[in-house]
């Protein structure tokens, strides 16, 4: 206050933040916090399920067929796109 009395120009130079901008900033911060929570929450839930024996993980060897079929499925869909674009 003392500075403002001494130098009235200082008051005018303060950046004016509109209500809209303030609200948008808060929304972005809230969404950011929620998103961060979502990743950490998923990780925590996964670790808990793993600890409790509820999460059954297949070994890479058991998953080999699934991986092969998934690769083939992706390639097949790409081929389907190509076919549609040829028409």
């Amino acid at each position: 206050m003392a500075e403002e009395k001494q130098n009235p120009v200082a008051i005018q130079e303060r950046p004016q933040v509109s209500k809209g901008r303030l609200v948008r900033s808060w929304i972005w911060i809230w969404r950011a916090l929620m998103s961060k929570d979502r990743i950490l929450k998923d990780a925590a839930e996964f670790e808990k399920r793993l600890r409790d024996g509820e999460e059954k993980l297949a070994t890479p060897a058991e998953d080999a067929q699934w991986a092969k079929e998934t690769r083939e499925g992706l390639a097949a869909l790409s081929h389907k796109f190509e076919e549609r674009l040829k028409k």
Binding site: A32, L40, D42, E47, W66, L74, L85
Partner: protein
């Protein structure tokens, strides 16, 4: 040096399968060439991401090159992200067992923070994967 085993959780695999099916349904519903091209433009990044995850699993790419450190979980395990354009995979590593587990898959367009963080996430965290 022992290779890292990469395991994908049922949720991770289910999300890959569901997303692929979703793209197939959208392709079947597309009535014009332009609509097909639009779906294809969204499918290609997903396919790239899915192949990267499969390459990790199949030891075709080392985790140290693809995964980026993100955060530490409540239990103190390091969490890593596999990011490819708008797709992101969440992984955790067990250093003692030399295993890396894929937990879930996210569409970055649904997670604004990750979109912003994309450029800020630390470079590959090699020290855990050596």
């Amino acid at each position: 040096m022992e290779a890292w085993e990469v395991i994908l959780s049922p949720a991770f695999k289910a999300k890959l399968a569901a997303t692929r099916t979703e793209f197939e349904n959208r392709l079947n519903q597309a009535r014009s060439r332009r609509a097909v091209e639009e779906v294809l433009a969204q499918y290609e990044p997903f396919k790239t991401f899915a192949l990267l995850a499969l390459d990790l699993r199949d030891h075709k790419s080392p985790p140290s090159e693809l995964l980026r450190y993100y955060e530490t979980s409540e239990n103190g395990n390091p969490l890593y992200l596999l990011i490819s354009e708008r797709w992101c995979g969440l992984f955790t590593a067990d250093v003692s067992k030399h295993t890396c587990t894929g937990i879930n898959v996210y569409d970055l367009s649904e997670i604004p923070l990750l979109k912003r963080l994309k450029g800020r996430i630390q470079s590959p965290f090699r020290r855990h994967f050596q």
